[in-house]
Symmetry: C2
Subunit: 508 residues, 2 copies
């Protein structure tokens, strides 16, 4: 990503050491925010201060600047782009976007709303989902206007397209029960890129735009505490830069867009124990939860702190899904052909982190060996069951039931799609360990500050904290557990990041 | 319970209306705590102010008073005792309590620790569990010293004894897998009482002691906001009483012991969606989460806000457990003979809130009809499956597998205890709806403020907030999801309530 000219020599180790050093020296321990009275004079002044330079921060900066505000974006790491730049850059968009129409896909706001609100967890944030869906098509146009390029080609695969197609089914739309809840449409919008570099391409475009609009970017600057007036209004932030503490005044508002907390292991263990055991904390090393903690320190409520994605990327190739996934009781428990975020959630949150993929001759592609360990092998299902120490006869019953119906291209339990449905057809049978701590099992947090539709941060009494906004994974937004589609997180970050920036920038 | 002489005429409706009216008038909206500068003079002064008069509050008051502090306990409702007084009053204690020894039960601190730390959710608070177990026997003695009476008789039943026995297996100790993790011992200590009035008996004793020690009790007083100095120290509380706002100074500390938030429906939906759909919000109507919200407003971190108990009290009588419990796929998923808090958790959190109990001739006691609806009836298992619209043949396979092994008194899947294990033996077969919104399914919240071993409240930066303590369900303590034993919540409330009161009371 963009190099930081401010701290070119900073090594990762120094950086991490500095990140750990959050002990405040300028005010009493126990005060989660810095009282304005303790700030002598401001070291730096701006209208809108954005903490974090990922998708949410960049979009907030663009809109705040467009609204006429002076904008400073600070980034704790030496490179800009956040976890968004590490991602595939997918934005979940629909309701008839220009790209959907260009490739002949039919979609509607209502079907998109049904999918997001009806397929994920219980009691999702309906108002945010509604707003997101209604403005999705316009939001996609805006991304294009910022210089993000898309190829009007549709991929038929289940995973991020690697051949330059910009639209695909990025979620579980085609799997049961989602396909009965909402009419499926491909809604994963991927920047034109080679391989998995969509996030980098997306962030290069957005950050270039941030710079072109005249917002300032400063790397190697970590937010430490919010500075708060006696009446609760957020006035600015105390930050650290190369060991020094600086205070930055934000006349119109502070936008917290500093990412999740998957790399703050203590936070993960306390808030999201199911994610703690997942083998790969997924995200930029800057995902330390500081933005969330600063907000909480100023009295903000935080929601859904236990949620996140826990994904088990079985495919590609999709042929592996002709196998079956079972729990420690030898039972199937999920449609194998669902989005791997849904599969991962089922394992991490609902099966105590343990599961196995059973493959046979023909459903075992060589690539599995890269990410998963084969822990049993045999000529019969019974051989596997013994090696796995499964309850006697349980796996055999499961396979018998599965085969009996698969022969008729049916799957009464989880309605796997016909193209992936056939009886297990013979040895070698293998069991692959899909347990969260044994498999390649990336995890990322979704919990964050409670925000309104314009990113305004809300306290535990339901009141807006004046001067404070949050977006992306510093906020509790659209993505939840289960994570039902790639692109919801970056989509939410860009969409609500924009709204937060616009609201903060427009403050008189 | 004890009558409130302060607001004898207060009706529940007035009370609820008042509870909803949390809009602060004396300071700016958005400030989660009231700055000390905004408080002219204190209306009331004390050393230790305890918010809430349940088990945690009463124990805190006793210890603070014993430490020499002036103590005021305020209660939002007209009656003292909190949700603890509604409960069965079970305290989970072990490691060789006087009562265990009196009835010849062997137990050890280590086995108790293994049970609590090893059987519940992932990454439990080990330090708290350790402290609790090591001091459990002494804590029980203390309860007796306060005047709580116990009968040295052991019940062999699985539920709260109704014939005056004071010790029983209150959790899932005897069910698999718990019994393989820790040597089972009965640890549910119930005050000598008739029927389910143990909580009232417990609270009458504790509150009498509070009064005898000279602590003040004041009903009809709701905590609204903490009053906080510029350096973060908590100085007191703004409360409301009969529509008036008062400020109370707490020279040594404030102990938040105001209970969970199951009756604050908006909080439940936001924080604990799985509990929202449960049919019976279980707890005192004062469980509005105000203590938690006051703490968050002052910068405290809150942990495990999504957790709680969701219980499905199938038994007594235990014969019903000769039936099987299945999910929407006709699969068994839990040991039917586990504690009903574990069974309820499995349904509410891991089966999307849906499950059914299948009974046969001989496993269907009449009492089921009081709490559960029979939704299918037939002469064969297949009849039930059709009526329930289960996946074709799935329930039949489940029952065939179960019967095949039950014939040998075996249950390879969930190892139900032998005394409850026999094949389903013939019609009439019935299915009872155990879904969270259809069955009698009480729910209560466990999330609360992050506290240290002495109840000191901790902010998002891991620092202690000076002057602020929390206990019981205002804190994140021992009880989690799944709730593995009755008595852990009241046990935690009494034990850590004492520690919070002692710490606050001892402040110089």
């Amino acid at each position: 990503m963009t190099d930081s000219s401010d701290s070119p020599g900073l090594r990762r180790r120094d950086l991490l050491a500095r990140m750990g050093a959050v002990a405040a020296t300028t005010f009493a321990a126990g005060a989660g925010a810095l009282p304005a009275a303790a700030v002598g004079s401001w070291d730096i002044r701006t209208d809108v201060l954005v903490i974090g330079s990922g998708a949410a921060g960049a979009c907030a900066a663009i809109e705040a600047r467009t609204a006429g505000a002076e904008v400073l974006v600070v980034e704790s790491l030496p490179l800009f782009g956040g976890s968004s730049a590490m991602s595939a850059g997918v934005v979940y968009a629909g309701g008839g976007t220009a790209l959907q129409r260009a490739v002949g896909v039919e979609d509607s706001v209502e079907e998109m709303f049904r999918f997001i609100s009806g397929v994920g967890g219980k009691h999702p944030p309906l108002e945010k989902i509604r707003l997101y869906c209604e403005n999705s098509s316009a939001h996609f146009d805006w991304l294009v206007e910022q210089g993000v390029r898309y190829q009007p080609r549709l991929s038929t695969g289940m995973s991020v397209p690697l051949d330059g197609e910009s639209l695909y089914f990025s979620g579980c739309e085609l799997a049961w029960p989602a396909r009965d809840i909402a009419r499926p449409a491909p809604r994963g919008h991927v920047p034109a890129a080679s391989g998995m570099t969509g996030g980098r391409v997306l962030m290069e475009a957005l950050l270039a735009r941030v710079g072109a609009l005249g917002a300032q970017l400063r790397a190697g600057v970590s937010g430490e505490r919010l500075v708060v007036a006696a009446d609760g209004r957020v006035l600015g932030v105390e930050v650290s830069e190369a060991g020094r503490r600086l205070t930055i005044q934000a006349r119109r508002g502070v936008v917290l867009a500093g990412g999740g907390f998957i790399h703050n292991r203590e936070m993960v263990r306390s808030y999201a124990p199911e994610l703690y055991d997942c083998s790969v904390p997924w995200g930029n090393v800057g995902d330390q939860g500081m933005g969330i903690n600063m907000g909480i320190g100023a009295g903000a409520a935080a929601l859904r702190m236990h949620q996140g994605f826990a994904i088990v990327p079985l495919y590609p190739p999709e042929s592996v899904l002709m196998g079956i996934v079972v729990n420690a009781f030898g039972q199937r428990f999920v449609a194998e052909d669902t989005y791997y975020g849904v599969l991962g959630d089922a394992i991490a949150y609902h099966q105590q982190g343990r599961a196995w993929l059973i493959t046979d001759r023909g459903s075992e592609p060589p690539v599995l060996q890269d990410n998963f360990l084969s822990v049993a092998e045999g000529n019969t299902i019974g051989d596997l069951a013994v090696q796995l120490d499964f309850p006697r006869g349980a796996l055999q019953d499961t396979v018998a039931y599965y085969n009996r119906h698969a022969r008729n291209t049916e799957d009464p339990l989880f309605r796997k799609r016909a193209s992936l449905l056939r009886p297990l057809q013979g040895p070698p049978y293998r069991a692959w360990d899909l347990s969260v701590d044994k498999a390649f099992f990336p995890a990322h947090t979704f919990g964050g500050l409670h925000t309104g539709l314009d990113g305004e941060v809300i306290n535990s009494f339901g009141e807006v904290i004046p001067g404070l906004y949050a977006a992306g994974r510093n906020s509790a937004g659209l993505p939840g557990a289960p994570y039902i589609a790639s692109g919801l997180s970056v989509g939410d970050a860009t969409f609500f990041g924009r709204r937060a920036g616009r609201a903060a920038g427009a403050v008189a």
